[in-house]
């Protein structure tokens, strides 16, 4: 079967420790602890409930804690993650977290404004904003494509699927 133990993963003398992976382990540990804590707040189920509501949460919480510990141990022993590859992914250069941060901001603006402005506007802004962050040259063109996409998708949902996406401030205009 697939026993693909990479020889490079075994630490030699100048071992590499992926410190960020400790943060991941910590995050999983905290999640596990919370799932376990949440399970303690649950009451016994009804008489016809043979599986108690807290049974699975205890198993899952404990599992997460154990896995977090194992991951931390593996990290200390020099275990390095194999990041995912892809056609447009260039792993030879460092990570560009600034771009990701900007994308998250644009994305957050979308859900903060969507109830007020409606999808037709925020969707267009989302497309134009993310395209700009990712390096599209012409803002005007990005905005134009965004507006076309969001208005078309609004009407597509309305006439094609019979679903009226809340229009926000454009209520009555669309």
């Amino acid at each position: 079967m697939t026993t693909t133990q990479q020889p490079s993963a075994t630490p030699r003398d100048g071992r590499v420790v992926d410190r960020a992976q400790y943060a991941l382990a910590a995050g999983i540990g905290i999640a596990g602890a919370y799932v376990t804590y949440d399970a303690t707040t649950l009451h016994k189920g009804f008489a016809d409930q043979p599986v108690q509501p807290y049974t699975f949460p205890y198993i899952v919480g404990a599992g997460l804690i154990v896995l977090a510990v194992l991951l931390a141990l593996a990290t200390a022993r020099g275990d390095v993650a194999e990041s995912e590859e892809g056609e447009d992914v260039d792993l030879t250069k460092g990570s560009d977290w600034v771009t990701v941060g900007k994308l998250v901001v644009v994305f957050a603006l979308n859900f903060a404004l969507i109830s007020w402005l409606g999808w037709a506007i925020t969707g267009a802004l989302l497309f134009a904003g993310t395209a700009h962050v990712l390096g599209a040259r012409s803002i005007v063109r990005s905005l134009a494509i965004g507006v076309v996409l969001s208005v078309l998708s609004w009407y597509g949902f309305y006439s094609g699927l019979g679903l009226a996406i809340p229009a926000g401030v454009l209520d009555g205009v669309l």
Partner: protein, 502 residues
């Protein structure tokens, strides 16, 4: 009524103009997204789940099946014309395929991939039609204890067999199980953080879109390739008589590898495509050509890839067990129609299932007819400006998640789980166990509840059925094997260390 009559009825239903149109759209869309970097069939299906709110079940599933097969085909085009494969299943195709393309034989590589996919897909679908209904009639007789055991096996197999790090596989699985706990399905709020918005649980559509689309787009954004890729130009695919002679046996052997592996709960195309590649290299008349663009090395793995895609539909349709990411999203589509998936599917929805099966044959043929002439067009898709491509993915992902309930809150969840998807890609956590965990976790709990309710609480009921016992023995055996392997590598590493120190 026999299977043959049912299949003919399915064909009748699939050949209506509307359904044919959906099949065409599915095949074209599937190929396009398979070719496009960054998007795979699982992500596309996740983004298209909103159409299940109003399109007829049969039409939607026909389209989804077309996307599934088309995506496989498109993936091979990318791996032949670019030197970086997008999906793990087409890694092996890229080894010889890209070499062939560089040697000026891109047209032949594409042709053997397309025709091989057609041959394998057709044989695979035929085997699916033969086996799935029989398997379903056997599985439907099983009680809750056996079904519980099978669910455990599926979770275990998907997590333990695929990928390079089991620790990461199980971590992903447990994160998925935790997400699946959210909600009030047991009568009490679990992990809802006191929010009524989480009372119904986290919508699985949002989870799928977030993990597949947002996570991927953010991950690519953090490592976006700034220099253009070398794309090898291609004309109309064609093969000489010699190429045909060298291709047909690898096609059949690849199919023989692909289908059974796909049908196993630990499905996936990585293993069979790799096995097919090794076999062809061994059997080749001139093995020295391997590594420099041997057509056998494209024909075999591509056939294996497509046959395994057909194979994964066996556990999906006969047992309701998804074993690949794409199959998981197809299962979601069934659920979103309120269709009970599981061994009863063939009995409760005969027309739907048989129409789906018939449409697989149609889709496969359409793929061959449309894609051979369209290959140069697909190659052009590779040049789409990346900012627009990934902005588009984020746009449609948001639309898909928003359309579930029209709540901004779902977009917040989308972002949070999308960031989780980003972290998973950074730390090499596989995505599939998480999705399977979210889907199967609640079902695991429900089956256990049912089994224990019938036995009025006696736990021994869990191993009261022979199938359940066999499944547990298989799981235990696999566990022992994995632990034995782990101990062996540990010992070997220690020995090496001792040698280094000495």
């Amino acid at each position: 009524m026999g299977s043959f009559d049912l299949l003919m009825q399915g064909f009748e239903n699939a050949f209506t103009p509307t359904n044919l149109l959906y099949a065409c759209i599915g095949v074209l869309l599937g190929t396009a997204v398979g070719v496009l970097p960054g998007i795979g069939p699982a992500m596309t299906l996740a983004l298209l789940l909103p159409i299940t709110y109003s399109v007829e079940p049969a039409s939607a599933l026909i389209m989804f099946a077309g996307i599934y097969y088309g995506g496989m085909y498109g993936g091979s085009t990318t791996s032949i014309l670019l030197n970086t494969p997008g999906e793990s299943s087409s890694v092996v195709t890229a080894i010889e395929g890209n070499k062939m393309a560089k040697a000026g034989r891109a047209a032949q590589a594409l042709a053997t991939a397309a025709i091989g996919s057609f041959v394998a897909g057709t044989i695979g679908t035929l085997l699916l039609v033969l086996f799935a209904p029989k398997l379903a009639t056997e599985v439907v007789k099983l009680g809750a204890p056996s079904y519980f055991a099978l669910l455990l096996l599926a979770l275990f197999a998907v997590t333990a067999v695929l990928g390079t790090s089991r620790l990461r596989g199980f971590t992903a699985l447990f994160i998925g199980l935790a997400i699946g706990l959210v909600g009030t399905s047991t009568g009490q709020p679990r992990l809802t953080f006191g929010s009524p918005l989480l009372a119904d649980g986290i919508d699985i559509v949002v989870v799928a879109v977030a993990i597949f689309a947002i996570g991927e787009a953010l991950w690519v954004a953090s490592h976006l390739r700034r220099r253009p890729l070398d794309i090898i130009p291609v004309g109309q695919p064609w093969m000489s008589r010699d190429d045909w002679g060298r291709s047909w046996k690898p096609w059949l052997r690849g199919t023989a590898f692909g289908f059974p592996f796909g049908a196993l709960p630990a499905g996936g195309a990585e293993l069979p495509t790799f096995l097919s590649y090794i076999t062809e290299r061994k059997l080749a008349k001139n093995p020295e050509e391997f590594g420099h663009g041997a057509i056998e090395g494209v024909a075999g793995p591509e056939a294996a890839n497509n046959a395994s895609a057909a194979g994964t539909l066996v556990p999906l349709l006969a047992m309701g067990l998804p074993t690949t990411a794409t199959a998981a999203v197809i299962l979601l589509a069934f659920q979103s129609y309120g269709i009970e998936t599981g061994p009863g599917l063939f009995d409760s929805q005969p027309l739907l299932v048989w129409t789906l099966l018939a449409s697989l044959f149609i889709g496969n043929t359409l793929l061959l007819v449309l894609n051979l002439p369209l290959a140069p067009v697909w190659a052009k898709l590779l040049q789409i400006p990346r900012p627009y491509l990934y902005a588009g993915i984020l746009f449609f992902a948001s639309l898909g998640a928003y359309s579930v309930n029209f709540q901004w809150f779902d977009l917040l969840i989308l972002l949070v789980i999308g960031l989780l998807g980003l972290a998973m890609r950074r730390f090499g956590l596989p995505v599939l166990p998480l999705i399977i965990g979210v889907i199967l976790g609640p079902r695991l709990e429900a089956q256990l509840t049912e089994a224990l309710a019938i036995s009025s609480g006696k736990v021994s009921t869990l191993w009261s059925e022979p199938v359940a016992v066999i499944v547990y023995v298989i799981i235990a055996g696999a566990l022992l094997f994995i632990m034995g392997n782990g101990v062996r590598t540990l010992l070997r590493n220690n020995n090496q260390k001792k040698k280094v120190l000495a």
